[in-house]
């Protein structure tokens, strides 16, 4: 049984259809990338999985349980942590409080103290600034905090929306290494990226989403050799 399976969902923004019958699967401990141009519906897809948007049709199963009608705040309890586009930190809260919020709705709330230590070991930069307001952090630090906050929930599935956006190449490298490290600890990662080159570097499998339609899926190796993908998304 796949960890997450999205089965033919369609989502709307008002009357405009943003996702058309899209399907996707991710196995336990796998890294899967979803690439595609700006406005293809990648963020809508993640928001639909998270319950922030209700699909009009289709099903979403997480470890075999239907979640497409569940309120958004239940999903963290099941083990789905979503790092939204733009990080969406709590800017007037300290780093410590942001991390605490990561465990707020999860069973891991009881071990929040040790968990903070744990994620701080993973992100030493955050440890130095633990009492600082999240709004004062740099772009790279924000992405680290957003990722660390998600890890506070001890997720089975980590969904990252454009983690590289607005970051310097060097910082992106760090973030990628962290994603691989997290995955090595047994967390499945659903990585949504406009930067295809980057996403294909870490993922085992990938999907290509264009104007709300899943147009291609397969192993990353196949994406890297596909002529149209190379031309449109890899710039070679």
């Amino acid at each position: 049984m796949p960890l997450l399976s999205v089965e033919r969902i369609s989502s709307y923004y008002g009357d405009a259809r943003a996702l058309v019958d899209i399907s996707l699967e991710i196995e336990e401990q796998e890294i899967v990338a979803v690439i595609g141009p700006n406005g293809a519906g990648k963020t809508t897809m993640l928001r639909t999985i998270s319950g922030l948007i209700r699909p009009r049709s289709g099903a979403i199963l997480f470890r075999g349980t239907a979640i497409e009608r569940m309120p958004a705040h239940h999903l963290i309890r099941l083990g789905i942590a979503h790092v939204p586009e733009g990080r969406r930190l709590f800017p007037q809260m300290t780093i410590r409080e942001n991390l605490l919020m990561g465990a707020y709705g999860a069973p891991s709330w009881r071990e929040r103290g040790t968990l903070i230590e744990e994620v701080c070991d993973l992100f030493p930069r955050l440890k130095e600034r633990i009492g600082q307001l999240a709004g004062t952090l740099s772009g790279g630090e924000r992405q680290m905090l957003a990722t660390a906050r998600a890890l506070m929930a001890r997720p089975l599935l980590l969904m990252l929306d454009e983690p590289s956006l607005g970051l310097a190449p060097k910082v992106v490298e760090t973030i990628l290494a962290i994603i691989q490290d997290i995955n090595a600890r047994g967390v499945a990662v659903l990585l949504v990226e406009q930067n295809a080159q980057l996403a294909l570097k870490v993922a085992a499998r990938a999907y290509l989403l264009e104007t709300g339609v899943m147009v291609k899926s397969g192993r990353t190796a196949d994406f890297l050799t596909d002529e149209s993908v190379r031309r449109s998304y890899l710039g070679v």
């Binding site: 705040h73 942590a81 979503h82 930190l89 709590f90 800017p91 605490l100 707020y104």
Partner: protein, 292 residues
């Protein structure tokens, strides 16, 4: 002008201002978390006043218990109003407007209900504590000191809850980013209901404390509502610290203004002060400048 008079007016201003602060912190709490204006806040205040009048002045229940009854009852009323009137509006696109209309409706309804049931008369509520403190020629009624004490304690308690409890964490998270709060397990709809109730309870507490000084009548919520909005905008919409300091500042400015003019001018002074402040700082004293 004798210095005692000035000091006495400042002290008085702080005391009245602390009540503005309590009243306004409810408004700012609702604005901060739900991003809506509650025009029925004054009527929660008014009903709190009536409850204290009936419990304390009519039935002779002790003042602390009367206050508690008023606060709990109005908290529950706030919860009911949120669930029945506000809740379903929040999921619709133009909720900023519909909630204004809806709370205005609740305000008019409750005001007229009170008028119909209890009549337009002013009801006096005896002081909770008798006596006057005489300190270096400055005379302050114990009732006013009680007001100051109660507001300090409740503001401190509220601040503690917001800053150090799990509930406070959820409340602040909802205020700062409702979507992200949901993703991390906050049931924001329950938070909205609770915030509304809490805010109504604060209005009732302020009413209980002020009833002995101002008397109870169906329209008693009107003036605090206007002042409350002044305070909230003065301090910065959604800022808790802003509501507290804005309230005290307004109280002091008003009572010092009375030294130079008559009491009828106090509203003029308050609003002139507001206009001057937002001229210089449109986002208020403690608000954050919005950038788009």
């Amino acid at each position: 002008m004798p210095i005692q008079l000035v000091v006495a007016q400042i002290v008085n201003g702080i005391i009245v201002g602390s009540m503005y602060a309590l009243f306004a912190s409810g408004l700012t709490l609702i604005w901060g978390t739900m991003k809506m204006l509650n025009f029925a806040h004054g009527e929660f205040f008014m009903l709190g006043g009536y409850l204290v009048f009936f419990c304390y002045a009519v039935l002779g229940i002790n003042p602390a218990l009367s206050t508690l009854i008023a606060v709990v009852a109005i908290f529950l009323l706030g919860v009911v109003v949120e669930r029945v009137v506000i809740h379903h509006l929040l999921s619709h696109p133009v909720w900023q407007l519909t909630t204004i209309i809806a709370t205005l409706g609740v305000s008019i309804f409750l005001q007229n209900l009170a008028l119909h049931v209890w009549g337009p008369e002013f009801h006096n509520v005896p002081y909770f504590v008798e006596g006057v403190l005489n300190l270096f020629g400055i005379r302050i009624a114990y009732q006013r000191l009680l007001i100051l004490g109660v507001s300090c304690v409740s503001i401190a308690a509220l601040w503690f809850v917001l800053k150090y409890t799990r509930l406070g964490l959820a409340l602040r998270a909802t205020a700062q980013d409702a979507d992200a709060a949901q993703l991390y397990g906050v049931n924001i709809l329950s938070i909205y209901t609770l915030t509304f109730g809490l805010s109504a309870g604060l209005a009732a507490l302020a009413a209980a404390m002020l009833a002995p000084i101002t008397a109870v009548n169906p329209y008693m919520g009107l003036s605090p509502l206007l002042k409350g909005f002044v305070v909230v905008i003065l301090g910065g919409l959604g800022s808790f610290a802003g509501a507290i300091l804005g309230g005290i500042l307004l109280g002091v400015v008003e009572s010092l203004g009375v030294l130079f003019s008559s009491t009828e001018w106090s509203d003029v002074i308050a609003f002139t002060f507001l206009v001057l402040v937002i001229w210089v700082r449109p986002w208020g004293l403690f608000g954050v400048e919005e950038r788009n």
